[in-house]
Symmetry: C2
Subunit: 202 residues, 2 copies
């Protein structure tokens, strides 16, 4: 499969994952062949996703399992963009985190101290918000109390939903809306279409 003249003019291609390369656990039609064609044509590839539920390694494993070659350096996630922004602006700070285990690791790798479930939660410097399957009222309460006390509010993105085989699932934007409504304040976000995720990719 040759690359189209539209793509031929570019050296690098940024590919979304959910709904572009795959939906749930199945590749979209032609995705495997398209990525292979881009590689054969010598294009640089980055897989860019607002998804902050999984670590970069998880995405690499899934890409290979579905037949798509990828290296860890080529995968840029919402969690990676959070880490990039937090390391730049908030290293050494304390954080309350709404997010998966992968997001917790990104926050710690950025040099922050996670204070969820401690007496310091409501006095955290930063509240980090990413959608994940384990989201619950306890997380929302700790984030709300810290945000109301003036913590900086940083969200993975504003995606309302993401595609899954059984229909759309609520995304980071929905979870973030709960925190923003509770604390009456708007968050900074790093996901597409904000520049932080793409800066992380470059």
């Amino acid at each position: 499969m040759p690359v189209s003249s539209l793509v031929d003019r570019y050296d690098h291609v940024l590919l979304d994952l959910d709904g572009c390369v795959w939906v749930g656990d199945a590749c979209t039609d032609g995705a495997v062949e398209a990525v292979a064609a881009l590689r054969a044509a010598g294009k640089g590839i980055a897989f860019v996703t607002n998804d902050a539920r999984h670590a970069g390694e998880d995405f690499v494993r899934k890409l290979w399992r579905l037949g798509v070659q990828a290296s860890l350096e080529e995968v840029v996630t919402g969690g990676g963009a959070l880490q990039f922004t937090l390391a730049e602006c908030h290293a050494g700070a304390s954080a309350v985190v709404i997010g998966s285990a992968a997001v917790h690791r990104h926050v710690e790798a950025a040099g922050l101290r996670i204070v969820n479930d401690t007496a310091f939660a409501s006095r955290a410097d930063v509240v980090v918000v990413a959608g994940h399957d384990g989201f619950d009222f306890h997380e929302l309460r700790e984030a709300t109390q810290a945000a109301l006390r003036g913590a900086h509010l940083l969200g993975a993105g504003r995606d309302a939903t993401y595609p899954m085989p059984d229909g759309p699932w609520p995304g980071s934007g929905a979870v973030l809306a709960a925190v923003e409504t509770a604390c009456g304040r708007r968050a900074e976000t790093v996901g597409k279409p904000r520049p932080a995720l793409l800066q992380t990719a470059l």
Copy 2:
């Protein structure tokens, strides 16, 4: 304690609970005496709360425990207002519910069939949303999928937070914002300042 001339002109007094009669498990200063004075002056009293986490019976028990006389007929909750509205407009429908066990009972008492955790969840006719301590991603996902398929969206209220001894806790408005953001649609609500709760009280 005599009632003030301001109150003397009215036959009925509607009292909020959270932040008015109590905060958490303690009465506000003078609340017990004020309610007793209203009774001594022959005023009709209703305790009106957007709180839909507990049943009316729970509020009556708590009022007595704190030294405030009250009967079940005098307590009007967010759950009661949901039941009133659902019984009027949606009896016989199927519902996905975000809410406490008390809200589930109100929805069933209104004549609806709750289909949470069944294969019919995403095809529910109505999505009912009330804040509660057990709120989690699974509830949010079922509500989102039903709302995206066109279910009627009914919320207990838009309170961003409610007062608790350790600071504000996220209210029904925060939970509702997550659902509304995920499905891209605004809900009908029954709580104050909407008329449904007060209609239920009268």
